[in-house]
Amino acid sequence: MIKVYLLTCLIFITNWFSAQVNRNEMPKPTAPKTIGFKDSELFTTKNGIKVILSENHKIPKVSLDLRMGYNPGFEGEKVGLGAIMGDLIMSGTNKRSKDQLDKEVDFIGASLSASSTNVFLSCLTKHLEKGLDLMSDITMNANFPTSEFDRIVNQYESNLLSYKSDADAMAQNALSAVNFPNHPYGETMTTTSLASIKLEDIKNNFKACFSPKGAYLVIVGDINRAEAEAMIEKYFGNWIGSEPTMPKFDDPIKNNGNQVYFINKPGAVQSVIKIAFPITMRNGSKDNLKMNVLNDVFGGGGFGTRLMQNLREDKAYTYGCYSGLNIEDNGGWVSAGGNFRNAVTDSAIAQILMEFNRLNAEVITDKEIGLTKAVKAGNFSRSLERSQTVARFAFNIEKYGLPKDYYKTYLQSLDAITPADLQQIAKTYIPTNNFNIIVVGNEEIVEKIKRFDSDGKVTILDEFGHVIN
């Protein structure tokens, strides 16, 4: 009895004193939970499709992403061929007109889309048979009607015209063109290239590119292995095609000093700045994760990065300043920048270049690397909320030959990265000059950005990234 009494008394006293919580101290975390995910299943169909299945029955939906196995190469004088082919895949089949197709897709509330390299379906499980019927129809029987070809070409003509008012689109074109000369990534569609594309080219291209051989089918959601196998056999069992073309491309080399490129946008109140350069890194390269961490310290996202802290939080030059690391199958590039008011365009360029130089000259502090690792670990954990993520892991391991436990040990690999590692990475991949400095903006700023060019000459580009003489 006495014990009970004392206990109540104690509780009473504790409550009394803790009535007001201590706000001066940041709360401590409780025990961390383990982060885990289920392995995906892998199997290959008789006609060569590599299937990656990630079951998830949380909601009654299924998505299927069919990715062709070929590697897109040069389009030469017909730049835009792939893009237009992609847009036309849903323009009708031997069985269905475009109107019928659109109606049937919309009727089941599905999303079905296609590009030159993939076909994607997402729908409720109860409509899966119907969805697959439509998906397989466009994949195997797209028939490219002339009327739709003409219409899409007209659409592109208008789109190409509207580039002139779209600073981001112009900056993107310029970036591709100057980073990747003599490389498929450097090709941009123009009115001239559009005019040279013929319907026959599209049909031939489709025959060459769309094939089960080497293709991946990534299935995510409310479906099990047996159901998936049966459905694939039913809807894609008869699909045949040629061996995928796998051309190889060299990494571009850039050693012409800092180059300033300017694209005029009359009336602009801000400049779009992109400071960019290609890197010798591709999907599957072993330095990817370290380069990723370096980019994140620099400006890869979040409020705490160097670019954001310097150009937004300290100088207030911009709403946001970021750097992007792009690693693709045939090459990679880094691009840093944002939107800056006219008056500070040159100062912003100077600051971004200074920040690039700091990566080379100084060792990254433990505090910064600690913050970045925490952000990345958080992103990784949060990404597991989406069921697509786990399937993407399996796809990357399979396609790029990553170690089987790459994602299982991701957090450990991340944690093991040291400041010295990052300095090594910076020295290997970040140039000290040889930056492409791309500015889309008002003519009034051209004089002020000359000084960043190694020979003092600003190269003027058109909206497609081509040099204007």
């Binding site: 007001q20 919580v21 706000r23 940041m26 709360p27 975390p29 409780t30 961390p32 939970k33 383990t34 949380k58 909601i59 009654p60 939906k61 109107d99 659109d102 109606k103 897709v105 919309d106 009727f107 089941i108 509330g109 409720l124 109860k126 409509h127 219409r151 659409q155 208008s158 015209l161 509207s162 580039y163 002139k164 008012s165 779209d166 946008k265 009336g267 602009a268 109140v269 801000q270 979040g302 409020f303 705490g304 937004r312 939080e313 300290d314 207030a316 911009t318 709403y319 946001g320 939107n339 800056f340 008011r341 913050l371 925490a374 952000v375 958080g378 954990s381 949060r382 909320e385 989406r386």
Partner: protein
């Protein structure tokens, strides 16, 4: 045989149990008036912690537009216990992410954190509510940052001014007259007193809803909410506390008649001085009168046609009709109507304007619903060699058709299927669930609406769609903005 039977049974079940996946939640009020909504699910070890303040640009002083959004930026600067620049760093350092947004009707803040850091998120948001702290450097920096945001999102974007231009004409006498980004000149004119007043008027417990979703333990979450938010003074008492922190001794004394030293800042309710204690008790019991706006009832007078010259290549047509507040029963039918007109490739507007007649490069319609009223907007970018008159005529033809006869059974079913697909697929992230629950509670009166969306759409009939088309698509009262390229 057995298989067949099961298949048939499952088919039966799925057609009769045609319902969305339920989002379970609990909700309650703290004594100081904060509404709390908690949704527990353990699929991923993360949690979203959010606070919705029922204040937006429509609560602004007409000579200080853009203030609510600017203020949102300032509330990342720091608090009494969190130094400048540390707020976001704390979140990111702990593996989380954060952001906020401001609309005409609300200001919404959230963090997504690993689920062992829920207490941290609650502490951060309670700090933001109780005693945010902003210094001159912070104000000046954010003022410039917001201006850059406006240049980037509005001034330098083709056609982006149409929202501002539309609201200006559609709401001449309601504070929807201006949009959240506001005016740069007004931002320059903002003074310290404006910040203090806005904080004291709207960032108070009774105007806030906490919504937390994810891998949480309900009991400890409730306890933390009680510790950090329950201890925030209620009614007008929160502002005597804030004044004691921010005002000079002299100023405080002249406002309240006693020295601020008399107040126990660690625990307001434990204030010993009788005069101070009496005042605090009385202020605690006096709710703050939050200035609410009223529903907009003003009709568009006639057909307003204007031309806007912009840095564009393709001409654009933007057309608006007034529609009632978002809680109006007709809102579902209006959404339905817009899906028939412009949802998906098979929709009427896409099939005609874009595909068959090739007049437009892009064309769409949608309803812009808000707390006090809204607009139904049609927009299209004309293809080269086609005029805005052609676009206008074709829109008018589509409007005539949808006002003239019932939509087909097939169109009706297709739209319902589309709603089902997006509702089932929606609510798939904890941050989305937290937001949906809070929004539905504050603006629609019940968080349960999150679970009723499909039902709400299913109640709409084809006759309803015909009726709302005729009621709201008034050809003699609308706004037409022609966007033309600036002359060189």
């Amino acid at each position: 045989m057995k298989n067949k039977f099961i298949v048939a049974l499952t088919a039966l079940c799925s057609s009769t149990m045609f319902a969305q996946t339920r989002i379970n939640f609990i909700e309650y009020d703290l004594p100081n008036g904060i509404h709390v909504i908690l949704h527990e699910e353990h699929s991923t070890p993360i949690a979203a912690i959010s606070v919705l303040y029922h204040v937006g640009s429509k609560n602004e002083n007409p000579t200080k537009t853009g203030f609510a959004h600017f203020f949102e930026h300032l509330l990342f600067e720091g608090t009494q216990n969190i130094g400048r620049g540390e707020y976001s760093e704390i979140v990111e350092k702990n593996g989380g992410t954060l952001n906020a947004n401001t609309s005409q009707d609300r200001t919404y803040y959230y963090e997504i954190l690993p689920s062992n850091q829920v207490e941290l998120g609650i502490w951060l948001e309670s700090e933001r509510m109780l005693h945010a702290k902003v210094d001159i450097k912070g104000i000046e920096t954010q003022r410039s940052v917001v201006k850059e945001e406006k240049r980037q999102r509005v001034d330098n974007q083709p056609y982006a001014s149409f929202i501002t231009e539309m609201f200006m004409r559609a709401f001449p006498s309601h504070p929807y007259n201006w949009v959240p980004i506001g005016s740069m000149a007004h931002l320059d004119a903002a003074e310290e007193q404006d910040y203090v007043q806005f904080y004291q008027d709207y960032y108070v417990p009774q105007n806030a809803t906490i919504s937390i979703a994810g891998d949480i333990d309900v009991e400890s979450t409730k306890r933390w909410i009680n510790d950090y938010f329950g201890s925030i003074p209620s009614g007008k008492a929160i502002n005597i506390y804030r004044d004691a922190l921010s005002m000079s001794s002299t100023l405080f004394k002249s406002k309240y008649g006693f020295s601020k030293k008399k107040i126990n800042l660690d625990n307001l309710n434990n204030t010993k001085n009788k005069k101070a204690k009496d005042l605090i008790t009385s202020l605690s019991n006096t709710p703050i009168e939050i200035k609410r706006t009223t529903k907009d009832t003003e009709k568009i007078r006639g057909v307003i046609v204007d031309t806007v010259y912009d840095n564009i290549q393709l001409s654009g047509l933007f057309m608006a009709y007034k529609i009632p507040e978002q809680t109006h029963a007709d809102s579902y039918a209006l959404e339905f109507m817009n899906e028939v007109l412009s949802g998906g490739a098979s929709s009427r507007i896409n099939k005609t304007l874009v595909e068959k007649k090739e007049i437009a490069n892009y064309a769409a319609s949608f309803n812009y619903g808000l707390e006090d009223g809204g607009m139904n907007i049609f927009l299209a970018l004309a293809n080269i060699d086609h005029s805005l008159t052609e676009v206008q005529n074709e829109f008018d033809e589509q409007i005539r058709l949808i006002k003239e006869s019932l939509i087909s059974e097939e169109e009706y079913q297709a739209v319902l299927n589309k709603f089902e697909n997006s509702i089932v697929g929606g609510n798939s992230t904890v941050v989305g669930i937290a937001e949906s629950l809070a929004d539905n509670y504050v603006y629609f009166g019940t968080a349960e609406r999150t679970n009723q969306m499909l039902e709400n759409y299913r109640k709409v009939t084809r006759e309803d769609i015909l009726r709302v088309a005729n009621t709201y698509l008034t050809q003699d009262a609308r706004i037409i903005l022609n966007y033309l390229p600036k002359k060189k």
